[in-house]
Amino acid sequence: MGVPVITMDVRRVGEKTAVVDIRGEVTAACEPVLMSAYEAAGGSATSRLVLNFAGLEYMNSGGIGMLVTLLVRANRQHQELAAYGLSEHYREIFELTRLDEAITIYDSEESALNGVVR
């Protein structure tokens, strides 16, 4: 098992929203880091979880599988998942895998927080 080359910092924005700043490589190996971030950002009070992919440097299909796992967990808690900061390449991967139908993609943090697709 490789050492995850990733950091995920959690910021709370208001009472019901949390932003996770992802920097590095999203692979299956970073699952513990992501789930720790989810726990830190989660709780029943959080209804909207925003993933900031501006620092994403690499993602393989294991990373996409991990995001599906996160989605299942969030759905169980009736939480909405959103994303922003995706480069054109990673946005296309979200669209190709049709993950964008469950995780709404925004162009900026502002629009992600407001829930307005631009």
Partner: protein, 276 residues
């Protein structure tokens, strides 16, 4: 309580580990290089280019129906419970890259008899569409396909189109595990519609387990393993059915394949009379 079968089980109400769902944890150990701004990331060549609907060329030996014009379906678009199924084999001292290269190059040859995989002649590459004829009994072949979503030196992933038995992807990977190499196939799926969900419950899961165990065993034999042994683990990741996707049944390739099989003699007759 998650439903489990096979040799291992998951804990109560636990979402299955993404590490298990993941395809090649070794990829995370790759050199950490930051792609300069404007330069394609190093995974760019491993991913297929975006497609909205599948396009296929006719291939010899398969019917080739139920694929052209279909959209891809992931676990998000499926109907049934979400399952993660893992089939693992100890591949001894075979280097992971060699195991995956052999698998990619000779993929159709490892399939159980009666099933056809008609892919590109060059093996498995991102963006390829392969046509499948799968034996479902009664002399009927289920015609469907798969799309190569991702491929690198240590793993490759296939994604399914509308109408396939399941919505999701299956990843084939190899990694060093201590002194030995472990080869695995891992499926993350939901049955695509209510008919398939019933079929999976009524023997479909068992049939699929046998299929991939046989495939891995064939690969093991090709890699020179004296006695390949496959370990199977199934975990229900999400016990909820997505009823809003029940209408996927419209694309059901099993129903369409049966109808196409029944209609084939009439079509042949019509062609003959037209040409006469």
């Amino acid at each position: 309580m998650p439903e489990t079968s096979g040799t291992e089980t998951a804990g109560p109400d636990r979402v299955a580990s993404a590490e298990q769902i993941g395809l090649s944890a070794r990829e995370a150990a790759a050199p950490h290089e930051v792609a300069p701004h404007g330069v394609a990331p190093r995974d760019a060549a491993s991913w297929a280019k975006k497609v909205d609907r599948l396009e296929v060329d006719p291939r010899e030996g398969v019917r080739g129906t139920n694929v052209a014009g279909r959209r891809l379906t992931g676990p998000v678009q499926g109907f049934g419970k979400m399952w993660q199924k893992t089939y693992r084999m100890d591949a001894g001292q075979v280097p992971p890259e060699q195991a995956i290269a052999t698998w990619r190059e000779h993929f159709p040859e490892f399939w159980p008899k009666g099933n056809r995989f008609a892919g590109a002649l060059t093996g498995i590459n991102p963006g390829d569409v392969a046509l499948l004829d799968l034996a479902i009994g009664g002399g009927v072949k289920l015609s469907t396909g798969v799309f190569v979503l991702y491929a690198d030196a240590e793993s490759f992933t296939l994604m399914t189109p509308q109408g396939h038995m399941f919505a999701g992807w299956i990843t084939f990977s190899a990694e060093r595990d201590g002194d030995t190499t472990t080869v695995q196939a891992q499926v993350l799926m939901r049955a695509n519609d209510p008919l398939y969900e019933v079929a999976m419950i009524c023997g479909g899961h068992r049939k699929e387990d046998k299929f991939w165990a046989a495939t891995l065993t064939s690969l093991g034999q090709r890699l020179g393993l004296p006695a390949p042994r496959v370990e199977t683990r199934s975990t229900c990741v999400d016990g909820k059915r997505q009823w809003h996707h029940a209408r996927n049944v419209w694309h059901n390739s099993m129903v369409r394949s049966v109808l196409q099989t029944l209609a084939a003699p009439f079509r042949r007759g019509k062609r003959t009379s037209t040409s006469a």
